[in-house]
């Protein structure tokens, strides 16, 4: 087998492997956390999220208490801890339970829970991720396409010359 044909084959197999892993890892993943937030303070939790469909459920205990919730990416969080002005991926003020969807880019996201009430609260956070990881899917398809194009070009060149 010629070296470039072999390279094409290796790329095709690598692409198929990446796609296989994407399919394998497309099952529903549920991450749960219980966070205690003292009165007048805030708590943060970090999650590595993929380019999948993400659903977030937050439940505050006791249900009469209300918290402010913010979802920040790394750049926004760095501004937040430095005390600079920052934007956010998602934010809601004064809620006791919420259920929302968002489509993150691959990376670390920080969930900030601010308790502005006079009593400590417990927060039940559930993050549900489902669907294919779009970024890895594109990588797999790209590798597959490059491999196929390389082999096709070599075949054409072989016939021509």
């Amino acid at each position: 087998m010629k070296p470039f044909t072999r390279l094409g084959l290796v790329l095709i197999l690598a692409g198929l492997t990446v796609l296989g892993v994407v399919v394998l890892k497309s099952e529903k993943h549920v991450a749960r956390a219980t966070i205690s937030v003292k009165a007048g303070e805030f708590e943060t939790r970090l999650f590595y999220l993929y380019e999948r469909d993400v659903r977030v459920l937050v439940e505050v205990i006791p249900s009469v208490a209300k918290v402010d919730i913010e979802v920040l990416d790394v750049t926004q969080y760095l501004k937040f801890i430095r005390g600079e002005s920052y934007s956010h991926v998602y934010a809601v003020n004064g809620t006791s339970s919420i259920d929302f969807n968002f489509k993150p880019l691959r990376g670390v996201y920080v969930f900030v829970f601010r308790n502005s009430s006079g009593k400590s609260v417990l927060i039940r956070l559930t993050i549900v991720m489902e669907g294919f990881e779009k970024g890895c899917f594109k990588v797999g398809v790209t590798l597959l396409a490059i491999g196929l194009v390389l082999i096709a070009v070599l075949k054409v060149l072989q016939r021509l010359f």
Partner: protein, 248 residues
């Protein structure tokens, strides 16, 4: 002159050892291992360090540690090295090695080239398959420094340990199928036996847990000395056997 002679030997060994579909299988296993590991990180935990820049540094460093940890996959590495070293056994049993030594190559040159190629190719493919996607999964501009060198050394020594066992067995059996089966069986048996000693503090000195614990931070570099010395001793014994006593 010597370099030219050895480079032709290297090319020959590369084409022989990585014949279809061996290279393809190594690439598929490495890519599968890499992406499965990368796509298994979900909860990063709580990083209480709130000092600005170092927060993201901790995340990236932790990601890199997980990447090196993923490389020590006993299942795949044992299988790959057992396959490649059994190909050396096949060269001996089929008479190919005798033909090769009829060319103007010294036995020491053949051994060094053969073992270097067999050891380095899976190591480089694994390193590439695991480190190349790292910026894709951790796209943060952070200067990591040299904190990863211990993990790199651990992965290198872990590969060397597995390679040395497989090479010794292949030269002992000199036939491919028994050497493949024995290599994989011995490495798995070692792994299972050591798993039973997991609570014993001595486990930090015994492979594969010395490598796993070194990357996880439960063991120091000096815990890797016995397994490294064993690997070097086995390769030295193989060298002496191949160059002086092996009858073809």
């Amino acid at each position: 002159m010597l370099v030219g002679k050895l480079s032709s030997l290297v090319r020959f060994e590369l084409s022989r050892l990585l014949r279809f579909p061996v290279l393809e299988v190594i690439v598929v296993l490495a890519v599968f291992n890499s992406f499965t590991a990368y796509m298994s990180f979900y909860l990063m935990g709580t990083y209480t360090d709130k000092t600005g820049g170092s927060f993201i540094y901790l995340i990236v460093l932790d990601g890199l540690r997980r990447t090196f940890y993923a490389m020590i996959n006993y299942l795949f590495i044992s299988f790959i090295y057992a396959t490649l070293t059994s190909s050396i056994a096949h060269a001996i049993s089929s008479g190919l090695m005798k033909n090769l030594l009829s060319f103007p190559y010294r036995r020491s040159e053949v051994f060094i080239v053969e073992s270097s190629v067999t050891f380095m190719v899976p190591f480089i493919i694994y390193l590439t398959a695991h480190l190349l996607p790292f910026p894709f999964f951790y796209p943060y501009p952070v200067q990591i420094g040299f904190g990863w060198l211990k993990w790199f050394l651990t992965v290198f020594l872990s590969f060397l340990y597995i390679f040395s066992i497989c090479l010794t067995i292949s030269l002992a059996f000199k036939t491919p199928i028994p050497s493949f089966i024995s290599s994989v069986s011995i490495l798995y048996a070692m792994s299972f036996i050591t798993a039973g000693l997991r609570r014993n503090p001595l486990v930090n000195f015994i492979p594969p847990y010395c490598f796993i614990n070194s990357i996880l931070g439960h063991a120091h570099v000096y815990h890797l000395i016995p397994s490294s010395l064993l690997a070097i001793a086995l390769i030295a014994i193989c060298y002496i056997y191949f160059t002086r006593w092996l009858e073809l």
